[in-house]
Amino acid sequence: MSLPKRIIRVMPHEDNLRYFNVTIDGPSGSPYEGGKFKLELFLPDDYPMLAPKVRFLTKIYHPNIDRLGRICLDVLKANWSPALQVRTILLSIQALLSSPNPDDPLANEVAEEWKSNEQNAIKTAREWTERFAQ
């Protein structure tokens, strides 16, 4: 019997238990499929009253993720609630990969491409996944 395919891996850092190394597999059916995306996650002092800080370390072509890997996601900002957990946050990020939202962009150029020529944008996203996220 094979183990179920792990989709999100989270490992705390050896020196700093507030700091986590995260790997998210690109969700199937999205241009990020087959990619393994590295992220860093940090729990600030005021956690859980403040949201964890999450950032993509792997380059990714996505309208809501900018060149520095910062993520535009409501639950990381205004809609954060202390009842949310690291698990739910990472699931939300994975969901964001499945459904990009070019209407509320962080990377403007990517969002524009996504809106004007979606086919092309998806192609670029797939190429980037192959180039950077293996």
């Binding site: 005021d46 859980p48 009253m49 009842a83 949310l84």
Partner: protein, 594 residues
Amino acid sequence: MSASEFEYDSEEEYASSVSLDELEALSLTDSVHYTHKNRQTATGLSMHRMRYKPVEADEIEGQLKAHIRDVDGILQIGEDDCAVLMLKYEWNEQKLLEDFTTKEPGNLRRECGLATDTKVVSGLVETAGPEFMCAICCSEGPVETFGLSWCDHRYCVDCYVRYVRGGQTGLVKCPDTGCRLYVRPRELAQLSAFDEQRALQKEEKERQEQRQNLGGPLTSEQIMAKYQKIASESSDEEDAEPANDDESADDALFNFHERHIRQQRLEKQELRNKVLLSRYWYAVVLQYTKKHARTFRNCPAVDCECFIEYRGFDSDVISSVEEYVAHKYIPIVQCANGHRFCFACMSEDHAPATCAVVRKWIQTCADETETSHWITANTKDCPKCSSPIEKNGGCNHMTCGECHYQFCWICLGDWSRHKNNFVCTSFDDEEAKKEREKQETSRVSLKKYLFYFDLFEIHRVSLKKDTEFLAKLEYKVQEIQQRAKVSWIEAHFYRESIDTLLKCRITLMWSYALMFYLESSKEKGMLEKTQSNLSNHVEALSKLFEVTPTENVIKKKETFLTKANALKTSHEKCIEIFMESLVLNRIKFVSDIE
């Protein structure tokens, strides 16, 4: 003293000097303040003034509660529901009333996060059994929990209290992400009361333990615990001491008046921080004032919880703060804690420099442009590859380190023309003349900048040092005052003198920044005279503080008062003259400041 003597609306009476004591007393009454004292300047010109009123958070809180009560008088849904609706509608009463009449009540309530049935008010705070786990901190029961009984998302009380404290607006949502309900003031009051009671019980328990410990002989563990407690407390104090000094240095730009109201403010703030419900109402006040930023401004001083309410102008010509600033007026206001700041740009007192000058000055000081000025003044560019070169000695035969081009430092011409002659002979060369002219102009403007920047810096540093120095002195004076058995009022002149000195230093400092941007003219010469007059008075008083031994301060009261009053008069005159020149456009700016 009757209240009518403090009638602010009659200008003549306000013109008589108002001491700090009186100001303090006045801030408690419903009095209106003006951005500057006299409607008419000494030369008989009439100036426009902004009216304002320093208000404290509690006052606004009271007004908001009354407002909510009024609206509820129309809606009849209960003050708590009404409070949430008003917050949700960001105090837009009109819109709320409109929606209330047109929308289906159930829908409106759902949209605004109000439960449709809030009758079950029992058991907001409950003890949960061992099967409970708080979704925030993951601690397990049995534990005291809090939750709205109509959605029943429960969390432990500690987490809930921390959650509410962290809230930035008056709207406190149920922490559950799927739940859209808001916690109303009524429920918060229960949480707050529980929290307070628990804190009291804890205190009482500690006290009892202490009493028990005092009863019998102490065990070695108890002695150790006590020792550690005392040690940590005293080290806390030691840690706290320099931190306070730092703070006073940072507060340097603010009025010294703060110091003796600080105690009151801290007590009030402590109470507000301690009681969850009053913390919540402060968040409501903040939300309201931010929404009404045209009327209310929160004092920008660190941890100051005072507000300034805008009350229009005493003229028909000017109708908004923007217009007022465009006329080159500077609306400096003073909050109930004595912090002086500009109502328009929200920075510390910067009269007589206008907001635009301040912006430009800060930018100029921060910009790299001045660095490049230095480079142009002290270096020459290689005529071939343009790398900047600083001559650090040696003869005039230069060899560029980058491109190895050889040239003459004096005329910047090719060295080959100089043969082996180390004295430049082509000084009258056209090309060289141009280079030199370019160098000259940049040097002049740099010198001008450095001149004013130095003056600005000198006063900024003096201000900081004065604040530190005088703060230390003041405590000594307090001691003396107690020893010599003079009343607080008797020694008050000292604080007032400090206050005046610091205020004038700020004015001087910014007047130099302003001068940098002014074109030379007769008017500017006059301003400079005013400035140096003020500067002399400042130095005189500063000197007096320095040379008077602390023991003699009380004896020298007369001297202090004379000097401080002279300074005060000079300061007022200075501010007025600068204002006249600016407002009447008598002076020109070198570059377009906007």
